[in-house]
């Protein structure tokens, strides 16, 4: 395995491109820093001056509302200047290459790029290309990774369950196309969760998935038995090609989370979903809005986690070391 490109020579986080290969201490440091940012929203002035004068470019080559907005809010709470660019509709459509676009923005004194791209590995390419003082955060690339989502999910689980080292976690749905699932799995296994299950039909599970440290189930009844955390995944209809599923109805019947299926899990199990949800396809409304659902907390925690990531990368967090 080649060196992890997101760590500098001292093992400090230079970019956040994927959870893969990050030490558990680095992940815990991000989560702890996020905890310290949680109360910023409750202050009269909902800002801290940590990144004052820094320019953060939201570089979105693929449409997004939720993720882009939370990154923007997080950056503004840190007092950074935020520039939002919907690049898919501008430069690249005129034939400019990805790296040309990046070069131009870097020349505008960017300090950080938050990158979303439809191709796996695009943030890695950018990170290899930019000057050392510029940091890159992957905000979702192809099917590869969505590390801040993975971290905010860990934050949520830790918030509700405290000790991760005694949990059973089930991830349900389209792992094949899911960057979120990959980041969650790396984060869960790195943080010592002893049992991570993936539940889906064979068409939605990639080859060698078990090498990522998960157990594969095709039956919800068996897979959900006694789990502490259920993470539902969105069906990535826009990425699906070919005959992967016969119908949304059949999918919901066998893999949708209903009250009855939820009862198979531990009584205090929490239900998560990275959103946006397809109600009646992945999850029943009564479950999505039910007492065990922590879906809206995930969104709130997402801002604190992104603040933590940005401040740590810029060396302004509660200590940038691991």
């Amino acid at each position: 395995m080649k060196n992890n490109p997101q760590l500098n020579r001292n093992g400090e986080l230079q970019h956040l491109l994927t959870i893969e290969g990050l030490p558990a201490a680095t992940l815990r440091h991000i989560l702890d820093t996020a905890s310290s940012f949680l109360n910023v929203a409750e202050r009269e002035v909902k800002k801290v001056p940590l990144l004052q004068g820094k320019a953060i470019f939201n570089l979105f080559f693929e449409p997004s509302t939720r993720t882009r907005t939370t990154f923007e809010i997080a950056a503004k709470k840190l007092s950074a200047d935020v520039i939002n660019l919907n690049v898919g509709a501008s430069s690249t459509s005129k034939g400019e290459t990805l790296l040309d676009t990046v070069d131009n923005l870097a020349a505008m004194q960017a300090d950080m790029f938050i990158v979303r791209h439809s191709q796996s590995g695009a943030p890695h390419l950018i990170a290899r290309h930019v000057a050392p003082h510029i940091h890159v955060v992957n905000a979702g690339d192809g099917r590869h990774a969505h590390p801040t989502q993975g971290l905010l999910d860990m934050f949520t689980i830790r918030h509700y369950k405290q000790d991760l080292t005694s949990l059973r976690v089930a991830i349900v749905g389209d792992m094949l196309h899911s960057r979120v699932a990959r980041s969650q799995i790396h984060a869960l296994t790195t943080l010592g969760v002893p049992e991570v299950r993936v539940i889906a039909p064979k068409t939605l599970i990639p080859a060698c998935a078990e090498r990522m440290g998960v157990q594969i189930y095709h039956d919800m009844a068996k897979g959900l038995k006694d789990v502490d955390v259920i993470i539902m995944l969105r069906l990535q209809n826009e990425r699906m090609r070919g005959a992967l599923l016969p119908s949304a109805q059949e999918y919901f019947k066998y893999y949708g989370l209903t009250t009855e299926k939820l009862a198979l899990a531990r009584p205090d199990a929490i239900v998560m979903h990275p959103g946006p949800m397809n109600r009646g396809v992945e999850i029943e409304s009564s479950v999505a809005d039910g007492v065990q659902s922590v879906i809206l907390s995930q969104v709130t925690f997402g801002i604190a986690v992104r603040m933590a990531v940005m401040s740590i990368l810029m060396g302004s967090g509660a200590g940038s070391k691991q």
Partner: protein
């Protein structure tokens, strides 16, 4: 021009020679090996002390990018890369722009290549017009124009009925059909092997069965039609097993492996190294080990460079969008030596994989140094270490997964038809 190559370690696998012997060349041919012929007055003497003298290398797959793709490479640049790598004969697939599907294009390519007086170029003709997979080309005409065999390059030929007819037609004239086995549907959109790395990196994948299903179809059609088949760039362990069984059965089939597949696996992709975006994809370590063994035991007949010069811009893209391919002509020899060294295989057997064996597949008579042969010779320093860097390569394509690696074995002289076409300092 008379040339005397003296003091070298002559390795000629075809003639079972591995000894210090001199070679004498006159009028473009080998006139003697060993003792100097009477009245031989050399115009030039090459002192090959400490060097290996072997047949010029024969590469079964090198794209020259002409016609039509000169922004990636030109005949001039790639022919220079060939001779710098000791390659004196090369086969170019028909995936040019336009594809090699008309006799005029083939004649022009042959003429251009010949006028450069460097390596010999043997084009493969397209099996179907414009590589469209529908209408057969004028194979007999293309053969007369200089095509040595017929292929569909890397373009999927999904219609097995067309493939059946292409094989039948080729068999009519005794032409060999060269195919890279890959099921078009199973490989659709894929950019990496369907394994651990593609799963981890979220890359669209190509399963090994994309190769074996296509290979099983090709072998079945070969049985049906009696066509001679050459399988290009085998990549999987299961594919090796199918070839082994086909050969045991007596089917007229040969096959090659790309030099990078003998050394690399999906793990080398690391974190999206676009230089490892190759066709077929780098597969698992078990596949790689099976290919290395199959080369050693003769199931796989030859190694090729699979040279595909790609311009830098085409690699500076996210992995899936980056153009597949790597430069290879200048790495064929050192990487073959590396494989042999790691497998404990003799230098002679290694050199056979890139000279005598490919020459046999092509039914040419230029992979050895017997008296009367055309003097195509490679003289290399087997001890010389060199680092693969963009500036150390003659090819216009500077992208290879081996960049930065130190390799052993460097070509010092290359002779084609008795002319020194490449000469490097010690």
């Amino acid at each position: 021009m008379k040339i005397h190559i003296k003091n070298g370690r002559l390795i000629d696998p075809n003639n079972n020679i591995d000894a210090q012997q001199d070679v004498f060349i006159a009028a473009g041919k080998i006139v003697a090996v060993g003792a100097m012929p009477e009245r031989f007055n050399a115009n030039r003497t090459i002192d090959a002390a400490g060097l290996v003298v072997c047949p010029g290398l024969v590469d079964l797959s090198a794209r020259l990018r002409e016609p039509g793709l000169e922004y990636k490479a030109t005949l001039e640049s790639e022919m220079l890369a060939a001779v710098a790598g000791g390659v004196t004969s090369l086969v170019c697939p028909p995936d040019t722009d336009p594809p090699l599907d008309e006799p005029g294009l083939v004649e022009m390519l042959k003429h251009r290549a010949k006028s450069l007086n460097q390596a010999r170029v043997y084009p493969l003709g397209a099996l179907t017009q414009k590589l469209g997979g529908e209408r057969l080309t004028e194979m007999a005409e293309l053969h007369d124009a200089g095509c040595i065999a017929f292929s569909h390059a890397d373009v999927p030929l999904a219609d097995t009925n067309v493939l059946l007819h292409a094989m039948q037609y080729a068999a009519t004239f005794g032409f060999t059909v060269w195919l890279r086995p890959q099921d078009a549907f199973l490989a659709r959109d894929g950019v990496a092997h369907d394994g651990e790395v593609a799963t981890r990196l979220g890359l669209a994948s190509i399963p090994s069965c994309a190769e074996t299903i296509a290979l099983a179809s090709i072998l079945t059609l070969a049985r049906e039609t009696g066509a001679r088949i050459h399988i290009c760039r085998l990549s999987s362990r299961e594919g090796v097993a199918l070839i082994r069984a086909a050969k045991a059965e007596g089917l007229p089939v040969t096959c090659d492996v790309a030099i990078h597949h003998a050394h690399l696996s999906e793990m080398d992709i690391g974190f999206f190294d676009a230089n490892c975006h190759l066709i077929p994809p780098l597969r698992s370590q078990r596949d790689r080990d099976a290919l290395r063994e199959a080369l050693a035991d003769g199931t796989v007949d030859a190694l090729c460079s699979d040279h595909a010069p790609v311009d830098d811009d085409a690699k500076l893209l996210p992995f899936a969008e980056a153009e597949p391919g790597a430069t290879g002509l200048e790495l064929l020899l050192p990487l073959t030596l590396k494989w042999a060294n790691e497998m404990g295989i003799s230098l002679s057997a290694a050199i056979a994989k890139i000279s005598a064996e490919p020459s046999r597949i092509l039914a040419l008579n230029n992979g050895h140094l017997g008296a009367g042969q055309s003097a195509d010779v490679c003289i290399f320093d087997p001890e010389k270490y060199w680092q693969v860097e963009p500036r150390s390569l003659k090819s216009q394509g500077r992208n290879t997964p081996f960049l930065g690696m130190e390799l052993q074995g460097k070509v010092r002289y290359t002779l084609v038809e008795g002319h020194v076409v490449y000469e490097a300092s010690a």
